[in-house]
Symmetry: C2
Subunit: 235 residues, 2 copies
DNA sequence: CGCGCCCTTGACCAGACTCAATATTAGTGG
DNA sequence: CCACTAATATTGAGTCTGGTCAAGGGCGCG
């Protein structure tokens, strides 16, 4: 269950009604009706412009949604974490590709099931509203933040309960936090609207400033969470 | 009703179920219960971090949602057009400021009304899904497009039914389209993640290339819609 | 007509990108 | 366990796009 620990550690999209999810589906749809699927890392669930026939819920693991331009430029538009819904479309086709970052478990759902239940509709609505808020935050990052601010913001996102407006500060004597990235430099770059080299340089600079220690490429120890928070542009 | 014509001309967020809106509200809530408010241009509906007690629907006109960083950098995160809902929040506070761009008419709604009706929930869900798709598109613009591509994409958004994957091409002999901006250069810059000077230079360059004629500062004639479409980065 | 606001243009600068070389890590098989 | 390979990450040098700062122009309104 290594992948579950990793996802929990990322703390992406904190505050979703994750615990309710099983109960909600059980109440409104016979659990026998809900198909599940396991994904290995870097497996595609659906491609941009495929007919959008089904929607999905992420049970565990992490998935990214990305869009491509004809010349190959890529933008990762969402990082989906436990309890999130994805694959809902207004039109007939998916507007982006869904690809797993880690091992993952997904529920496969029929859109019609949702339209018939008020409880499910409410659940879907709340997920979408939470997503909108992270999209707004991400638009700010992409449109207005420097490379260093983007990388710092990205790392801070992985630290649960810190960096919010009501941040409790360090828990005790030490202000450290170990985080697992589960994304390559290229994927981080495509999420932050940067190049792989710029992401790498920013992380090296953070290392030089004594804010992080790199254990492995995807295991980073933030040695001063408060210091990291100061360079996100939000404080 | 000049402002209604202007909004219609922008063609922002095409495809929303605008026509259903009055019927939907009438069915589920006595129309007497729904308060309305008129807004003059550049009037604020709510500020970022205000308690999110109500939600709104835009009846006519255009509204922008923006976020600010402590040092004053601004990002316009959404442009709201006719029929869109705004002010829905997952948490207790608004995550952005809502300010009118034109004269506008809004409906003031109570979140509880929505939670009780399946029809309304469906309507809200569809609005949110459509918004998510535009946010994805906008993330691509902010993260991966050049200044010229951003401005061209912005102008193309104002042209209904053109630039999509199933673009019908020019209607007849001429391939022109007059558009009304309803936004200052500063607002456009803050929406596209650029500076006012860069937006201005991009528009001047389009003029030099013979793709647009500037009638007034906020009235632009696109003389070759197909040519404009070619430089959005999407073709 | 004159004032103020917004927009445009120019010159210069800086941050991020590109291209290229090198280093590190992860994975494979002996 | 180590050697070898392929993939990924880091670092450096040079370039370029878009930002900054400053000056000038145009338009609307009193």
């Amino acid at each position: 269950m290594a992948y579950m620990e990793r996802t929990a550690a990322t703390g992406l999209n904190e505050g979703h009604p994750v615990s309710d999810v099983d109960r909600i589906w059980a109440e409104h749809i016979g659990s026998t009706k809900v198909k599940r699927q396991h994904l290995r890392p870097h497996q595609v669930v659906f491609y941009e412009s495929d007919p959008a026939e089904r929607m999905y819920e992420l049970v565990s693991g992490t998935i990214m949604l990305y869009k491509l331009l004809p010349d190959g430029r890529r933008q990762v538009v969402e990082i989906i974490s436990q309890g999130d819904l994805f694959g809902l479309q207004y039109g007939k086709y998916y507007d982006c590709t869904a690809e797993s970052l880690t091992d993952a478990e997904i529920r496969i759902l029929d859109r019609r099931d949702i339209d018939t239940s008020l409880g499910l509709q409410q659940h879907v609505g709340r997920c979408l509203i939470a997503k909108m808020e992270s999209m707004h935050e991400h638009a700010m990052l992409l449109g207005r933040k420097s490379a260093m601010e983007r990388v710092a913001s990205f790392l801070m996102r992985m630290v649960p309960n810190r960096g919010m407006q009501d941040c409790p500060g360090p828990e005790g004597d030490s202000d450290e936090k170990m985080i697992e990235l589960t994304m390559t430099r290229q994927e981080i770059a495509d999420y932050l609207g940067l190049t792989i080299e710029t992401v790498s340089r920013a992380i090296s600079e953070l290392k030089r400033r004594g804010l992080v220690k790199i254990e492995k490429q995807d295991r980073i120890l933030i040695t001063r969470v408060c210091g990291m928070c100061q360079i996100t542009g939000m404080h």
